[in-house]
């Protein structure tokens, strides 16, 4: 008795990538450090030469953090003749921060994102919103990128990167296009009443089956996400300049809605905002190395 099966496409899967940023020659540099950010969903490695971004890589977090840490860092260094062994100091951050075998120290992603945001966007940053794989963090920091206070979403991970992945699968739209799709509606529909992924799933499905377009459902979902994020921001208190880091910073559906509601325009990133955590870690690594060498 034959049973029909249908092949599914993995709409949630986002592209992994690496890049060597500067042509700078590390051989005559004094400090080489790296920050390795092992997130719940994505892992990032940022290699810094004299405190400047040299190379980086972004990939999906695997089942074993140690392997992922090695993989992502090695990949970042691919094509350069620099190796992990040559790095003076490595700091691990993110969910798997304690599982970076070649890291001397681990620092939480909250501190690292604030520091990284300060590096990417400059000293005027006062509020950092990081929407990661499963956490959403609202961080207040000073001109040096030091954390003053922060809040994280409660234990339900709805409305974070992971939630978006599930949602992308649900409405069969590649995750990179979700934001754009969600904006292609003439008029904003009411937010889905609950963004607990499963609940939203049931609700979105019924909306789709009532004849709502994917765009409309996506809009409703993103609107709900924005609402939730804004609750967090208002609780921590939002002050300019405001920036968004983490993978979801690339989702214009979320970003533009936040802009619309908060009436504050987030600063334009000068480099990939998903790197903020890794960058911050890399910068802390530099400071720690210099401290170790009695250079500060």
């Amino acid at each position: 008795m034959e049973q029909a099966e249908v092949k599914t496409q993995e709409y949630w899967r986002w592209p992994e990538y690496r890049m060597t940023v500067s042509g700078k020659d590390w051989h005559n540099a004094s400090v080489m450090t790296a920050g390795v950010d092992i997130g719940s969903v994505g892992s990032k490695a940022a290699v810094l030469v004299d405190g400047e971004l040299y190379a980086y890589a972004v990939m999906r977090t695997g089942g074993v953090s140690e392997d992922t840490a090695v993989k992502v860092t090695t990949w970042a260094l691919e094509g350069t003749d620099l190796e992990i062994g040559k790095l003076h100091y490595v700091v691990g951050t993110g969910y798997g921060r304690v599982n970076v075998p070649f890291a001397k120290k681990s620092i939480t992603e909250i501190a690292c994102h604030a520091r990284g945001a300060n590096y990417i966007y400059g000293p005027t940053v006062r509020t950092v919103l990081d929407i990661g794989g499963q956490d959403c963090k609202a961080i207040r920091c000073d001109e040096k990128g030091k954390v003053l206070s922060f809040l994280m979403n409660d234990k339900c991970a709805a409305g974070t990167g992971r939630g978006l992945e599930v949602f992308a699968d649900l409405i069969s739209v590649p995750i990179q296009e979700l934001g754009k799709v969600s904006l292609s509606v003439d008029q904003e529909p009411p937010p889905v009443s609950n963004i607990c992924v499963i609940f939203a799933k049931a609700e979105s499905l019924s909306l789709l089956r009532q004849g709502w377009s994917k765009e409309k459902v996506a809009a409703a979902y993103h609107a709900a996400m924005a609402d939730r994020i804004i609750d967090l921001l208002t609780r921590v208190g939002i002050e300019k300049d405001f920036v968004i880091t983490g993978g979801v910073a690339k989702n214009i559906g979320v970003v533009q809605r936040l802009e619309r509601i908060l009436k504050i325009k987030p600063l334009e990133p000068k480099m990939d905002p998903i790197l903020a955590g890794a960058l911050g870690a890399g910068l802390f690594a530099k400071a720690l190395y210099e401290k170790e060498q009695g250079l500060r």
Binding site: Y95, T108, A111, K146, V147, F150, K155
Partner: protein
């Protein structure tokens, strides 16, 4: 061979871990009754007066799947976890179950217990909520008289003033000693950890306080010469409702910080106030429970508990406070914003954590670590 002091703390831990065996043996040894109580508003003085061993019903931190038929899952995990222990037969040695009115969550655990778990004696004390009114003490005195009668009827033995004095003496001594020991958390570094303090209080709630008092007396002699070396000097406070999550305490203190004081009914709130002697013993007991550090469910119209927490934060010189909220606990949840504000006014930063059936350390670790980093500011790295 351990130094004596470590043995004392080991004894506290053992008492908590083997509390069911302990109560069982106590029963055989003394031939007296054991009563389980759900809330610290149950006047243990009267039970000790009747030679009954009161033990507090606590949970097990496993998802309470078997309580679904009896308690709607929107009520706090603690009341469901408590009932689950009863349903699983962990408390089969109990002769009675008593609840002193506080929140409706525990009231439900009490009624489900009464209805679904075979038990000889069940009593609900209508402890007044209006503890800030002048009418509460006279009313509660009468309510206590009624409870006393009921116990006498059950045990068939009259409770004399002398008996009551005995009960009061045992409880007061226990409270006094635990307060003295708590004093040693003021010094820097403190002489006991938050985990040890929690284990001291929890064990006091599940064993014969006369035995517990002996341990405390010894501990009090040993403490002055104790040196605790803590790698970090971050002084934390933990605030919330019922909290017997030792794993969480351990994990946080392993990150370097030390809990130097708490505001919990499984902590200082339990032993902060003594019974002040009065001719009418019941009136004296009533006064103690009406004027004790209140559970938020009774703390209105004024927010006196928050003021108390602020004072503790000052006296114990804390750097930051973790505010844990047992999910669905309305009385405590309602007070979070004013509590946060009051502590902020004396420069104490707070971080809220929502506790559920089990504590997801993976998630909480990041929050706590980041909170500690915020308190230190990672100064050296800027």
């Amino acid at each position: 061979m351990f130094p004596l002091i470590e043995e004392i703390f080991a004894q506290f831990r053992e008492w908590i871990d083997d509390r069911h065996e302990y109560a069982g043996t106590w029963k055989e040894k003394t031939g007296n009754n054991v009563i389980g109580y759900l809330c610290t508003y149950v006047p243990e003085e009267i039970l000790y007066a009747a030679d009954i061993l009161p033990v507090r019903v606590l949970g097990s931190h496993e998802p309470p799947t078997i309580t679904e038929p009896y308690i709607f899952a929107m009520y706090c995990h603690f009341c469901r976890d408590c009932l689950a222990q009863g349903l699983k037969g962990k408390f089969n040695y109990l002769d009675g179950i008593v609840e002193g009115q506080s929140c409706i969550h525990l009231r439900q655990a009490f009624n489900a217990w009464r209805l679904h778990i075979p038990i000889e004696y069940a009593y609900y004390i209508y402890v007044p909520h209006g503890v800030q009114t002048q009418r509460a003490i006279p009313y509660f005195t009468k309510e206590l008289a009624k409870f006393k009668q009921s116990v006498e009827k059950w045990t068939g033995k009259a409770i004399t003033n002398e008996d009551l004095d005995k009960g009061i003496q045992i409880l007061n001594r226990n409270r006094e000693l635990m307060r003295k020991i708590t004093e040693y958390r003021k010094v820097n570094p403190p002489k006991i950890t938050g985990l040890e303090a929690m284990e001291m209080t929890l064990s006091s709630q599940v064993v014969d306080k006369r035995e517990h008092n002996e341990m405390l007396e010894q501990l009090l002699q040993e403490l002055p010469n104790r040196k605790l070396n803590r790698q970090s000097n971050i002084r934390l406070m933990i605030i919330g409702s019922e909290d017997d999550d030792r794993v969480f305490m351990k994990n946080v203190e392993n990150l370097g910080a030390t809990f130097v004081v708490d505001e919990h009914c499984t902590g200082t709130r339990y032993y902060w106030d003594n019974v002040k002697p009065r001719e009418d013993r019941l009136e004296a007991i009533a006064e103690r429970y009406v004027n004790r550090v209140p559970c938020p469910s009774k703390d209105w119209p004024e927010l006196t508990r928050i003021q108390h927490a602020v004072n503790l934060a000052k006296e114990y010189n804390v750097n930051g406070a973790l505010v844990i909220q047992n999910k669905f606990c309305d009385p405590h949840g309602i007070e979070i914003p004013p509590l946060k504000e009051a502590l902020a006014q004396i420069g104490v930063q707070t971080y809220p954590l929502e506790f559920d059936v089990t504590v997801p350390w993976g998630q909480f670790r990041t929050r706590v670590e980041a909170f500690l980093e915020t308190l230190t500011g990672l100064e050296e790295l800027f």
